[in-house]
Amino acid sequence: MVAHAQTIHKQRHPLLAFAARWLFTTNHKEIGTLYLWLSFGLFFIAGSMAMLMRLELFEPGIQFIDPIFYNQVLTLHGLLMVFGVVMPAFVGLANWQIPMMIGAPDMALPRMNNFSFWLLPFAFAMLLSTIFMEGGAPNFGWTFYAPLSTTYGPPSTDFFILGVHLMGISSIMGAINIIVTIINMRAPGMTYMKMPLFVWTWLITAFLLIMVMPVLAGVVTMMLTDRHFGTSFFDAAGGGDPVMFQHIFWFFGHPEVYIMILPGFGIASQIIPTFARKKLFGYRSMVYATISIAVLSFVVWGHHMFTTGMPLFAELLIMYLTMLIAVPTGVKVFNWVATMWRGSMTFETPMLFAIGFVMMFTIGGFSGLMLALVPADFQYHDTYFVVAHFHYVLYPGAIFGTMAAVYYWLPKWCGNMYDERLGKIHFWLATIAVNLTFFPMHFTGLAGMPRRIPDYSLQFADFNRMSSMGAWLLGLTQVLFLYIVIKAIRKGAKATDQVWEGAEGLEWTIPSPAPLHTFQTPPIIAEDAVH
């Protein structure tokens, strides 16, 4: 069988063999790599769109792009960053790491794994192609509120709908695969309470995905039938209600924002103990806190819609529930800090990104608490304050978390250490730039600058100029990141099997670089071993 496969490979043109290898691979490590590169590529595309917006916002007035195109770029930036960058990056990390961390030879459903990845390039090609269509790309923001996306949406909206369907199917299949793997493929002796936290957070994230991605699929299907098949789910003329769109969308949308952060929590919980050379403080409370956050995420969607004229009672209830989320999140931040307390800390690049994650995610968490206050939200709603808030939880949160993970596990993946000096420069430049970009938005937002508008009043000019310069620097530093990753893949100091002095866990017991097939025979986890 093996010999047969090899002869086939020999006969093929090398390019064809290369394509076939990546098209048909069912190996979790190769699929993980595909996910990560797709995410990296789209990160630059969606990032360039942000650069373009910051160019337009550099000065008041309309200089470079017309407002219609601005709306399209803004929409695609949001959609790509959410569905094309953060989510595939986390799925890629899950593919690489989960089997290695639980001692499994591969994912439970390798062929489905291949299919879930290969849906994505087509989904995003379809979404990106809308830019070149007559009538332009979707222009209604990533939240695609009806009737803006139904009655008034451009013709390309239908491509957007189909693209969302494909991504949704991909995410659901990916999530099912991850859950089945975690439930059935753990090495003997690895009980649930011995699983590494990255695995735990991903298990919970995967359940969130299965619960809400079908709701997203439902809402875009309603849009499709409203647009073409005479239904009126969101059209008041036919007895529908546009506000209902927001309810269904945010029923998906709020768990979705936790989908984009929970795996980041898991990453921080892996990295901080390694470089503090201490066990993670409060492992059990971390697990329970993550579950609480996930459960609460289903009952707070209304805080995105306080200004739609909800009954006072609903506003109060949702406000309190939203603020309740600060408790389990606070438990997590406390545990990370307590893990570092009196540890023998060293500050390699992954640790720097992880600490940056904890600190700056917390800033985003606090502005979230401000937004949860109903009376205050009426002022903050749809201003740059909201933009500042969610970029603080997504950039130094989800993106820094992903970068920390890449620096942390890259030596295991490719067998070489990355350039530590360049890694540190990357961290500091990115940290300065991210704050320069997004911190001033708090001020412009509080002063009333509305989001999603390509022009602004003169008094916001200075802060916007700062944001724009910060954004370009931030974009540039990610080119440095690309260089560091490629450099590490090509050459660099050989990594040891354990890679990091304080690293513990199954993935550090296998050779570096990790061979294509690992844990063909499951490892035995000692009875007294702790996570």
Partner: protein, 191 residues
């Protein structure tokens, strides 16, 4: 750890995903029921108020509230549509009648449907409509005009802090104007 376990769990999870897809659609009737019960979003009942609902209303002599009327034609609707009176001062528990005027500016007959909304939203369920042009579709011949009535009672249980409410109607186009020539005809006249 066996293949059978994998298959079982996979099928269960796919069923969960399928169930959630169905749940998204179940949210639609659920939302309507919740709106109906709570008056959320200012949706008033589209049904005639039942006799037993309004029979026992006591009329408090010392209270009166202002009700304002708004009317607008939706996008693409070639009607002129306005209330005859901008506002009324009414006593809760008594029957009132408000008249709305509509004129079809198109060269063809047009059918419209009015959709009501009440502000503040929580007042919606205290507004009981005995008769309303919004209960059914209205038809106007080319250039035709008519007065349409809504008779209503305000429930005396209306919370004390509400002294002013707004009843607004949006008149939507029901006729299918997609048939090219009709559409063109109407558009030309509208200008």
């Amino acid at each position: 750890m066996s293949r059978r376990d994998n298959k079982k769990h996979t099928l269960l999870l796919f069923a969960l995903a399928g169930g959630m897809f169905g749940f998204a659609f179940a949210l639609v009737p659920l939302y309507d029921v919740i709106c109906e019960v709570t008056g959320l979003n200012g949706k008033t009942s589209t049904q005639v108020a039942l006799a037993e609902e309004i029979e026992g209303f006591a009329v408090p002599s010392d209270r009166s509230v202002t009700i304002e009327f708004l009317a607008r034609a939706a996008r693409g609707m070639p009607w002129e549509f306005r209330p005859l009176e901008q506002q009324m001062r009414v006593q809760p528990g008594t029957m009132n009648v408000a008249i709305f005027h509509a004129r079809n500016r198109a060269r063809i007959a047009v059918i419209g449907q009015a959709v009501p909304s009440v502000s503040p939203g929580r007042a919606a369920r205290y507004l009981k409509k005995i008769e309303c042009f919004c209960f059914e579709q209205q038809k106007l011949p080319a250039g035709g005009e008519m007065d349409m009535a809504v008779s209503f009672i305000i429930d005396p249980d209306l919370p004390a802090d509400i002294s002013k409410l707004t009843l607004s109607y949006t008149m939507f186009l029901v006729s299918d104007l997609a048939a090219g020539s009709d559409h063109a005809q109407m558009a030309s006249h509208q200008e």
